[in-house]
């Protein structure tokens, strides 16, 4: 067994920032990640990181834009907390080495992005996430924080009311081990791999949310799943940054004629408009040519490269087919502004958490800002908690229990069924019935479909009895997590009988501020998801 003050689960931007902050606050820290941190989903963020730099912008303007995108469900205190610290965090990243694009005075340049009312998105070409992640990982290494890479967390150890660590499987060693901690920070990312297609990496499967939920934490606003408006939808789906739209790209029909759509709407509305236009026509395309070849190659080099390698198209010449595709959730583990969950000693941050910042819709360019601003706050809060809390014992039988559970999974035969089939059916179901537009009937069908997939998943055994790099085993856990959360997403969507932000109910098309200016809260009661409401604080 290993022992630390703070264990961070997840090596993306939030997790790395939290680990750095906790270490600098004096805690002993370890980071566990199921893939190498530099392979995490943060690397796919492209367009920018928001901060109200410059004389024309202000924290107040920024807050107003966040609240508008959040469509009534943002927690004002949390929004204030972000806008006050965003500039400091972006400047810190700059000083630590992010090679932001510069304006003519050598200051950080900012570009228009999504529904930001000001040029606020600081960027490093169209690889902002990659650069931010790289620099965070560099600073993480600088502090010598132990990094357990390719360790898959299988359970949270909750002793009574408090979280006292995790158990994890080392993919390389094939061994299960216990990581005792005074505080655990979940930074495991989103869950939209439950949709097919989606914009996310293979591991974006909601592991942390599912573990927290099953251990008694509450999930918030899980029905709020953002669809990205401009995604090449074939194969695995390839996101084209909205920053391209703000830089002059056009949404056009097959003949290349521009379609009347307000490009600066919040993502939810833009996705809906694009989806409506696709349904009434022959499909829509993104035309990058108006940006100009030179600027495409200089400001969007990765887009150009990936459009070629993934879609087989030339972004300086061809029209790129697009449609809205599941992107990032706003919902997640309910936390306060310091990342504390309903379980003592358990914190959550970034895309796996819901602290009320994003409400019903996330402002474009805020994912990375949220990751670093709250990564720092939550890392510090967890370190302070670890310092003040009494040491609790890690339950001795926990590792043996997990061994038994893994053993049971890898014994027996599941005949014709497979994890891939269950996952594929889930993806289709979520996309069709719990997608951009939902209705009561479809959600009911989705719920019964998810239930039957859960039953099938329960019966599936892992055929590969090995332990070293047994991806069938980890996939079994991941599909299980997605099925747990899919039920919560569908239940929450069914409960919210209105349309707001990313949640569009065909059968309840209006926003109902009398009954629904509230978060949905889901907890596990007697083995099933139970939905409550929590009014927005302001």
């Amino acid at each position: 067994m290993q022992e630390f003050d703070v264990v961070v689960v997840g090596g993306g931007a939030s997790g790395l920032r939290a680990a750095i902050a906790a270490k600098r606050a004096g805690a002993s820290v370890a980071l566990l990640s199921k893939s190498h941190p530099l392979r995490s989903n943060s690397a796919i963020a492209q367009g920018g990181i928001n901060a109200p730099l410059g004389k024309d912008d202000s924290a107040e303007n920024f807050a107003n834009d966040i609240m508008a995108a959040g469509d009534g469900l943002c927690e004002r205190a949390v929004v204030q907390s972000l806008v006050q610290d965003a500039t400091k965090e972006v400047l810190w990243l700059e000083r630590m080495g992010v090679p932001f694009n510069r304006d003519k005075d050598g200051r950080i340049d900012r570009r228009p992005f999504g529904s930001n009312s000001h040029n606020r998105s600081c960027y490093a070409d169209d690889r902002t996430g990659h650069m931010v992640l790289t620099v965070l990982h560099e600073q993480f290494q600088r502090l010598g924080i132990p990094s357990f890479e390719e360790w898959f967390v299988t359970s949270l150890a909750v002793d009574g009311e408090a979280c006292v660590g995790v158990t994890a499987l080392g993919l390389k060693s094939g061994k299960l081990d216990a990581f005792a901690a005074r505080a655990v920070i979940l930074a495991t990312g989103g869950f939209t791999r439950m949709y097919a297609p989606s914009t996310v990496s293979v591991g974006t499967t909601g592991d942390g949310q599912a573990l927290a939920f099953q251990s008694g934490a509450r999930l918030m606003d899980m029905e709020m799943v953002q669809f990205h408006p401009t995604v090449f939808p074939k194969g695995q789906g390839l996101l084209i940054t909205e920053a391209a739209l703000a830089s002059g790209a056009q949404i056009v029909n097959q003949q290349g004629a521009p379609v009347q759509i307000d490009k600066s709407s919040p993502r939810g509305k833009l996705s809906l408009a694009i989806s409506d236009a696709i349904q009434s026509g022959d499909g829509l395309f993104l035309d990058l040519k108006p940006i100009g070849k030179e600027k495409i190659l200089s400001s969007f080099p990765q887009t150009n490269e990936l459009v070629k390698s993934v879609a087989g198209l030339d972004s300086t010449k061809d029209l790129i087919p697009i449609r809205p595709v599941a992107h990032r959730p706003m919902g997640g583990i309910e936390t306060n502004a310091s990342g504390a969950t309903a379980i003592a000693g358990l914190f959550a941050v970034g895309e796996c958490a819901a602290n009320g910042l994003n409400g019903a819709g996330r402002l474009a360019g805020n994912t990375l800002t949220e990751a670093v601003v709250f990564g720092k706050k939550v890392g510090e809060a967890a370190a302070a908690y670890a310092k003040s809390s009494a040491k609790k014992n890690f339950p001795t039988a926990k590792v043996a229990d997990e061994e038994k559970r893994l053993g049971a999974l890898t014994s027996g035969n599941s005949a014709e069924d497979s994890l891939a089939k269950v996952h594929a059916e889930l993806g289709r179901l979520m996309n069709e019935k719990v997608g951009l537009v939902r209705d009561a009937g479809g959600l009911q069908e989705a719920l019964s479909g998810i239930k039957s997939l859960q039953e099938r998943h329960q019966k599936i055994k892992v055929r590969n009895a090995g332990r070293i790099y047994n991806y069938e085993l980890t996939t079994h856990f991941e599909v299980g997590s997605m099925l747990t959360l899919a039920e919560v997403v569908a239940c929450s969507a069914q409960a919210r009988s209105e349309s707001r932000g990313a949640h569009n109910r065909k059968d309840c098309p209006t926003t109902d501020n009398v009954n629904w200016k509230s978060h949905t809260i889901t907890k596990l009661a007697q083995g099933s998801a139970q939905i409550d409401k929590k009014p927005v604080a302001n």
Partner: protein, 319 residues
């Protein structure tokens, strides 16, 4: 389309011996190698191990050899590799310790080497005075280098690593460039010393394979050459290859042509007794064959003065 994938196999929990499994699968047009691997794992052999993460060319995790050439499986289309017949071989990268099947040891291959260069910026992190002011051209160069997604293709193509696995390799040296040429960095000199030491920049044979292999056009060889120039510029150049270069330039400057005897001695280092002893058999052979007549003289070439002027002009321009 029916395609047979001939996949390298190794199971550390069984006999640990390398082998190969053949899987014939029906795949649709436009399918990628990665999607085919998933199909094999899901439908035919759940024990098959391979890495992947982003699924669409962002992250570099899924690098393997497809028909002998290193490729990201997530962007490699099956149809591009079946033109000579419906067979595709899949292997781990060359010269890398393999753990299981296509999963190799990234730590030994690359991460540990990158760690050697202390891969971080040391800078003043006080943000009260705003950002550091920098020209975009300077940042643009860093953005190009930092677009590296650590796919390892440069190290895979390197012609030194198969001979000397301890060589830091183009990936780690390119990472070092990112720090050494960052104006915000305060420990660049220390990092330069590290890469200038044994197994660093002087061991590169500039075969340009790394540049040929890099899918992002980062040109690692060019970066290594820039690091060598920087080492000269700041006066850190104590390694054997650096001594070799210095001696070469000095003798050409003085006599118009290279003095091989002096080159050998100065390259080894005048205080390196054991190194100098090793030269003796070569010197003896050279004498026997009449290549170094005694007494050893290295005469100036006609036109040596003009050559000297050319070199001095170049030196003045560099300053």
């Amino acid at each position: 389309m029916q395609v047979t994938f001939k996949v390298y196999r190794k199971d550390p929990e069984k006999d640990g011996k390398p082998g190969r499994s053949n899987y014939t699968v029906d795949v649709p047009d436009g399918v990628t190698v990665l999607e085919s691997l998933f199909k094999i794992r899901d439908e035919m052999d759940s024990s098959l191990a391979f890495r992947c993460s982003c699924l669409r060319g962002h992250c570099g995790d899924c690098m393997v050899r497809v028909n002998g050439s290193s490729r990201l499986t997530c962007t490699a289309k099956v149809s591009a590799y079946t033109q000579k017949g419906p067979e595709i071989s899949l292997d781990p990268l060359r010269n890398v310790p393999v753990i299981k099947d296509l999963v190799f040891d990234w730590d030994a291959f690359m991460w540990n080497k990158i760690s050697t260069v202390k891969p971080w910026l040391e800078a003043d992190d006080a943000t009260a005075n705003g950002e550091s002011i920098a020209a975009d051209a300077q940042m643009k160069d860093l953005r190009k280098v930092m677009s590296c997604y650590q796919c390892g293709m440069c190290d895979e193509g390197c012609t030194v690593l198969p001979v000397d696995f301890k060589f830091l390799g183009p990936a780690a040296l390119t990472k070092a460039y990112r720090f050494i040429f960052d104006p915000r960095n305060q420990h660049a000199k220390e990092q330069l010393k590290t890469v200038e030491g044994p197994k660093g920049i002087w061991d590169c044979v500039h075969c340009y394979e790394a540049d040929e292999h890099c899918p992002r056009g980062i040109e690692p060889t060019k970066r290594i050459v820039a690091l060598r120039d920087e080492a000269y510029r700041v006066g850190i150049s104590n390694e054997k290859v650096a001594r070799h270069h210095k001696s070469f330039a000095a003798s050409v400057k003085e006599s118009g042509w290279v003095d091989e005897g002096r080159l050998a001695i100065e390259s080894e280092g005048l205080t390196n007794v054991s190194g100098l002893m090793k030269l003796l058999p070569t010197a003896a052979k050279a004498m026997v064959r009449g290549k170094a007549p005694l007494p050893y003289m290295h005469a100036k070439r006609p036109g040596a003065e003009q050559i000297k002027k050319i070199i001095e002009k170049g030196e003045a321009e560099n300053k």
